[in-house]
């Protein structure tokens, strides 16, 4: 089979010969499945990739990746492989597998298979060339598909987590009738600042709040954009008829606010959250009296 084919002209039979070559290639990979798979798993371990997984797991995954790989080569369609890559990523991302590891193992498989092709066709250089012509583009596409699938899955996970953190991060709490507190902890980026404002203004409306205490003890520093946004939020709240008291300003934030030239007549600030709530109660006409005092009216 070697001799006859290599002497045939090559120009007129490009596309159907590519499919024929791929078919031959797939047959070869199926035949040597066990051996190539083992070789691949061995090289993965050698290269210290996928260290988060046990040897058995690596071998099991290697087997299914191998089969999917061969199938993608055979059919030339990548949907099944894409779905598999996403599914695989979903399973291994929580175990701390890195992008370079995934790309690494796919490239290793590519190398292992290329080596086996060399070994098989080394006697017939022209045939080897044509086989590689058929194999390389397909193999590269597979590598890209798997890597992109992994990265996309990872990005999706990150997006989901960001969303979850964002939802958790800005509670608007009612402590008394007409009094809301908004404790802010952590870094405020422009997007979080926008969300914060939205939630606060909506909260003022739904809870019919008259005083709001924004506590920023947990915010170490903010840039002038965010500080400006905070000032806008305070003014917008006033337009809704609510007084805002800002508490817990760190020295750095105080400096930022002074540097951007905030009109301090528009901002009520109190040292800490307790002071802020006391001030708010005063504004609302509440008075907190210890039980003992009310029980002994002397």
């Amino acid at each position: 089979m070697k001799g006859g084919q290599s002497q045939m002209g090559s120009a007129q039979v490009t596309s159907e010969s590519t499919t024929a070559l791929l078919r031959e290639l797939v047959a070869h990979l199926r035949q040597n499945r066990t051996q190539l798979r083992e070789e691949w798993a061995r090289r993965i371990t050698e290269a210290k990739l996928l260290t988060a997984m046990t040897k058995e797991e690596v071998f099991a995954e290697a087997t299914s990746v191998y089969d999917n790989y061969v199938e993608a080569l055979e059919t030339g369609t990548f949907e099944a492989l894409q779905a598999y890559a996403r599914n695989l990523s979903e399973r291994i991302i929580p175990r701390g597998v890195q992008t370079d590891e995934v790309v690494g193992i796919v490239l290793l498989l590519r190398d292992v298979l290329a080596r086996s092709l060399f070994a098989r066709y080394h006697a017939d250089f022209e045939k080897l060339n044509r086989i590689l012509d058929a194999y390389e583009p397909a193999a590269n596409r597979i590598a890209i598909t798997v890597a992109v699938g992994f990265v996309q899955e990872r990005e999706r996970t990150i997006r989901d987590q960001q969303e979850a953190i964002r939802e958790l991060s800005t509670p608007v709490l009612q402590v008394r009738e007409r009094l809301l507190i908004l404790p802010i902890i952590g870094v405020i980026d422009p997007q979080r600042a926008r969300q914060l404002t939205e939630q606060l203004l909506r909260g003022i409306r739904t809870n019919r709040a008259r005083v709001v205490v924004i506590d920023i003890t947990g915010v170490a520093a903010m840039d002038s954009n965010v500080a400006n946004h905070l000032v806008l939020t305070v003014e917008a709240s006033r337009l809704l008829g609510a007084t805002v008291i800002v508490t817990g300003l760190s020295p750095e934030i105080a400096q930022t606010l002074v540097n951007i030239g905030v009109d301090l007549t528009k901002m009520n600030t109190v040292g800490d959250l307790q002071g802020g709530i006391e001030e708010a109660e005063r504004l609302l006409g509440y008075k907190v009296i210890p039980v003992t005092e009310t029980e002994n009216p002397a």
Partner: protein, 128 residues
């Protein structure tokens, strides 16, 4: 569209029903300033719940109304500014400085009641 102005005890309530043109705003200003004197009102409430846009002219006009009514001896409260409108306004620098605001009509009325009480208290102290 002309804004209806209702008399409610010592207060006047102007309830904006739709988007206002500049001419409507001028008309509202003139009517309110005139009626405050005629009815000897102590407070004015302008309800803007129905306004979903507030441009610089409208907010300047509201501020002018409040200041003119102050000079005529009454207090003004702007009520019902929507959250989105409020934030858009402050972003444009339209903060209605020096003008009282409240969440809705009810809050506006209680704000004016409070203010009246304070004034009333002063009068009594002096009489004693």
């Amino acid at each position: 569209m002309e804004v209806p102005i209702l008399k409610q005890g010592p207060y006047l309530i102007a309830s904006v029903q739709s988007a206002l043109t500049d001419a409507d705003l001028l008309q509202l200003r003139d009517a309110l300033v005139e009626k405050v004197g005629r009815f000897r009102s102590r407070g004015v409430i302008v309800d803007v719940t129905a306004m979903d846009v507030m441009d610089s002219f409208a907010s300047r006009m509201l501020r002018d109304i409040a200041h003119m009514i102050r000079l005529r001896g009454a207090d003004t409260v702007i009520v019902g500014i929507q959250p989105e409108v409020a934030f858009a306004m402050v972003q444009l620098g339209l903060t209605l400085e020096g003008v009282a605001t409240a969440l809705d009509l009810e809050e506006g009325l209680s704000f004016l009641d409070q203010k009246m009480k304070k004034v009333g208290g002063e009068v009594r102290t002096r009489g004693r």
